[in-house]
């Protein structure tokens, strides 16, 4: 059996959660509330790809001007301008309607950039802005599908940032967007309240065609970028907005029971 090639994010803990990285050419939705760190994660993914893995990238932004993005990235030590000069990265600031309008029988807006840097990775920031330029949900699905197919045919692995409106409570708002079924994977990022303080949680909600770690893990944005921490193993109900401590004995009993949940499916999370 041929092993599927993985696109590593360069964030070791996240790559471990993803059983080695995202699958090549997959469309990944990174969903989170405003300020949850989606842009930081996406930039780090592109910068690591260009500098560590020899995989160039394109950052398409509908909401930030390039100078603003360069400045923000530089605060983490990522010199996007230098990468652009080396033809390892392109920052494309455009309007969603221009992107949507292109490609109908003519050259796509992204074609020149793809020719220039020969990217393997792309970030679309964000799907939420794209949604503002289409009339209804059906149209949004059709346009998103068209765009994803275009990116896949170009051999690109994409991160599609999506701003989930719901700050607290369940994750229903992400999976009910109507576009979630079009993507291959969903990474969810959201602030959670635990013991009267705000912390950040990340989970892989979906990863088509691959095993993955299904634990909810804590993360923080540090001066060096995105840092993924330990799983929230002592708490349950975090995603519902009412986190409570898992009784120790119950947690141990659960692990003991799972160890014997053999029934022909005893595979480890990172095995394929």
């Amino acid at each position: 059996m041929t092993a599927t090639r993985r696109i590593k994010t360069g964030i070791p803990e996240l790559d471990e959660m993803l059983a080695g990285g995202f699958l090549e050419r997959d469309a990944v939705m990174v969903a989170g509330t405003a300020g949850s760190g989606k842009t930081t994660l996406a930039l780090q993914h592109l910068v690591n790809g260009a500098t560590t893995y020899g995989e160039n990238g394109i950052y398409v932004t509908f909401e930030q001007l390039p100078d603003q993005l360069y400045r923000d990235a530089l605060s983490f030590g990522w010199d996007l301008k230098a990468l652009e000069e080396q033809d390892k990265l392109r920052v494309v600031c455009t309007s969603p309607d221009l992107l949507l309008a292109s490609g109908d029988g003519e050259e796509n807006l992204l074609d020149p950039f793809i020719k220039e840097v020969r990217p393997r990775r792309i970030v679309i920031d964000s799907l939420s802005h794209l949604a503002m330029y289409v009339e209804d949900e059906k149209e949004l699905r059709r346009e998103t599908y068209r765009m994803l197919m275009y990116l896949k045919t170009k051999g690109l692995s994409s991160l599609l940032l999506f701003e989930a409106p719901q700050l607290m409570g369940s994750v229903g708002s992400i999976t009910e967007t109507g576009t979630s079924f079009l993507v291959d994977s969903i990474v969810m990022m959201k602030p959670v309240e635990i013991e009267s303080s705000m912390r950040n949680a990340l989970a892989i909600l979906k990863m088509r065609g691959s095993s993955h770690d299904n634990r909810l893990r804590e993360y923080e944005i540090t001066s060096k970028g995105f840092k993924l921490g330990a799983p929230f193993k002592e708490f349950e109900g975090i995603m519902t907005g009412s986190a409570r401590k898992t009784p120790r004995v119950e947690a141990a009993a659960g692990r003991f029971s799972e160890a014997f949940a053999i029934g022909g499916k005893g595979k480890r999370p990172h095995e394929e």
Partner: protein, 264 residues
């Protein structure tokens, strides 16, 4: 690292204790007259090394059954409890008659019940049978009551002389047959558990498998002991007290952070 270190410390502690008690405890339980020299030393060792392990496995197994509904876990827990608690028969008395009637009979039946429950649990685990919530208490009570009733009957049978003799001046042929039968059941259980471990790589399964292998070694070495103090008798003694540690390690590992199964 810590997971590997804890068992090592445990094993060293047990071996150190055995060495300290070397002069005080008979080398093999072949001579009833030397069993309790000093008084109840063998019973204390059984209680110290085996009973906590049996109780811990049974407790966590019951909790796991009530949580996840896997009857296989409950059956295996009962098997380990039967195996470990039957050694408490060493408290029965100091006379050779008491040892012959109570301890040997109870111990042999404990091993046999343990083997049957464990194998049943392991085989059922292959089908991942889950009892729905609300229907779990009855099987839980039934397994424990059944085990206690069986133990009581064996005890009564030994006292009333209903069961055939398993021990005279040395273990009888019947006791060897029972032990070999139990060893076969443990072998099958061990093979299946080992296979499961290879695919799941769980620390809990790892220590469970080590425990079962030690039980198997303990039974087989007992059958082949010829002289008290010979290397086989030492192997018997060490493996007997080590299997309690292995099962305890399985329980301790459930306190840690076992990686969950993957979703696809």
């Amino acid at each position: 690292m810590l997971r590997r270190l804890v068992p090592l410390v445990g094993i060293q502690f047990i071996l150190a204790t055995l060495i300290i008690l070397n002069g005080a405890v008979p080398q093999a339980p072949l001579s009833p007259s030397s069993y309790f020299n000093p008084p109840y030393a063998y019973a204390w060792l059984n209680t110290l090394f085996l009973l906590p392990a049996g109780a811990a496995v049974a407790y966590i197994s019951s909790k796991a059954f009530l949580t996840g509904g896997r009857i296989s876990v409950q059956l295996m827990g009962c098997g380990i409890l039967a195996l470990c608690s039957a050694t408490l028969g060493t408290w029965a008395g100091t006379s050779a008659q008491a040892i012959g009637f109570y301890y040997i009979v109870l111990n042999l039946f404990g091993i046999l019940f343990g083997a049957v429950f464990l194998l049943a649990g392991v085989l059922i685990a292959q089908r991942d049978v889950v009892i729905p919530p609300g229907k779990r208490l009855a099987p839980l009570v039934a397994t424990y009551v059944g085990l206690a009733a069986a133990g009581g009957l064996v005890w009564l049978g030994a006292a009333e002389g209903w069961v055939p003799s398993f021990f005279e001046s040395k273990p009888t042929t019947l006791s060897v047959e029972v032990l070999i039968g139990a060893a076969i059941l443990f072998s099958v259980a061990s093979a299946v558990l080992g296979w499961n471990y290879l695919s799941a790589r769980s620390e809990i399964l790892y220590w469970y498998e080590i425990g079962v292998l030690l039980v198997l070694t303990s039974i087989l070495t007992y059958v082949f002991i010829r002289h008290p103090g010979d290397p086989i008798s030492w192997l018997y003694r060490c493996t007997t007290f080590l299997y309690g540690g292995a099962f305890l390690n399985a329980v301790l590992n459930s306190q840690g952070d076992e990686e969950p199964k993957a979703d696809r």
